[in-house]
Subunit: 203 residues, 2 copies
């Protein structure tokens, strides 16, 4: 038996970070795949926990060494997922969450179509704009560009198996947890238990 790789993606400002923290707090037997990035650390972020923050030089070296399941540039920064970490986690019975942008999710799903993919959507573009302004960690100059990118990303919802609309945080977190628990009931996850039942047959 092995864990599921749970791919969670959303346009920026979709609120997936908060949702994932809630899932890690409430759902048992689940871990988080920490991505590498070259972007600047934001206030409150912890190196090695939120991301592994590296220089562009180091990132290029990791690419050369084939260390990434996927990598991509978003708004001029590199983001990458370590092959080794994902393999180590799903070899056990724990699920692992991969928080990743839409391009990256698309690349991982090509390699691992059995992954559980979930797309988090904002309830509307008006609400997405408000969230981006409220966060405002980047210049507001590129707000229009970000919204346009988000629109293009939302159009790709059908590359994901599940869609969760993040209107109310509690509802969305419950929906996310429901998907994760249901996917553990997939027959492939229950092979060992079912073999025990078959072995109990006394011919």
């Amino acid at each position: 038996m092995k864990g599921n790789l749970i791919i969670i993606s959303s346009p920026s400002g979709g609120g997936k970070g908060t949702l994932i923290r809630e899932i890690l707090r409430t759902v048992p037997d689940i871990g988080y795949s920490v991505s590498y990035t070259t972007r600047k650390m934001r206030d409150g972020e912890v190196d090695g926990k939120d991301y592994i923050f590296v220089s562009e030089e180091k990132f290029r070296e990791l690419i050369e060494n084939g260390e990434f399941l996927e990598y991509a540039t978003v708004h001029g920064n590199f983001y990458g997922t370590s092959v080794a970490q994902v393999q180590k986690e799903i070899a056990g019975e724990r699920d692992i969450i991969l928080e990743i942008d839409v391009q990256g999710a698309s690349a991982v799903l090509k390699n691992l179509p059995e992954a559980v993919s979930i797309f988090i959507l904002p309830p509307s573009f008006e609400r997405l704009r408000e969230r981006l302004i409220k966060r405002a960690t980047e210049d507001l100059d590129d707000l229009a560009l970000r919204l346009r990118n988000s629109f293009d990303e939302v159009k790709r919802f059908d590359e994901f198996k599940y869609a969760v609309i993040n209107d109310d945080l509690e509802t969305a977190a419950n929906q996310l947890a429901t998907i994760i628990i249901a996917e553990r009931l997939n027959h492939t996850r229950q092979m060992t238990a079912i073999q025990c039942i078959l072995d109990s047959f006394d011919d």
Copy 2:
């Protein structure tokens, strides 16, 4: 948007009847597809609610008229699923549960691979034997035959997407509900809502 067809199957004595009654009581927006059968009505069963009980002559007439999505014989009795009823139910937003034997499930899944298929397993064959003896609506003579049939059916678990082991009723009912709710979050079920979000983009 349309509802999901939820196929629930188990070997006899697997306890799916009780579980389904629990789901119909606790999960909103879900109905039950009543099958036709030629078997005798059991104590407590209601014609038109548990099954539509018909003569073998009538059943053969319905087959002739192409009224069944699938039909099968189990222990010498006919069981069949009405095309019309299933189509009517899933055209709305309601899910519909189809309680069906393993042969029948297999036939429906060939025609409707997008159906959500769930296999209910007994926790062991010892427990299955106890349940069959406790129910004892049929001669106990064919108990050994039933158990052998059940064994052959359990081996077909991998034809179903999900597997639920019915050890504790409450746990199994919760797992069943979790699967049904999670499948409503499939992106194909959320097309209309996502289109509204896309339309909210103010270019």
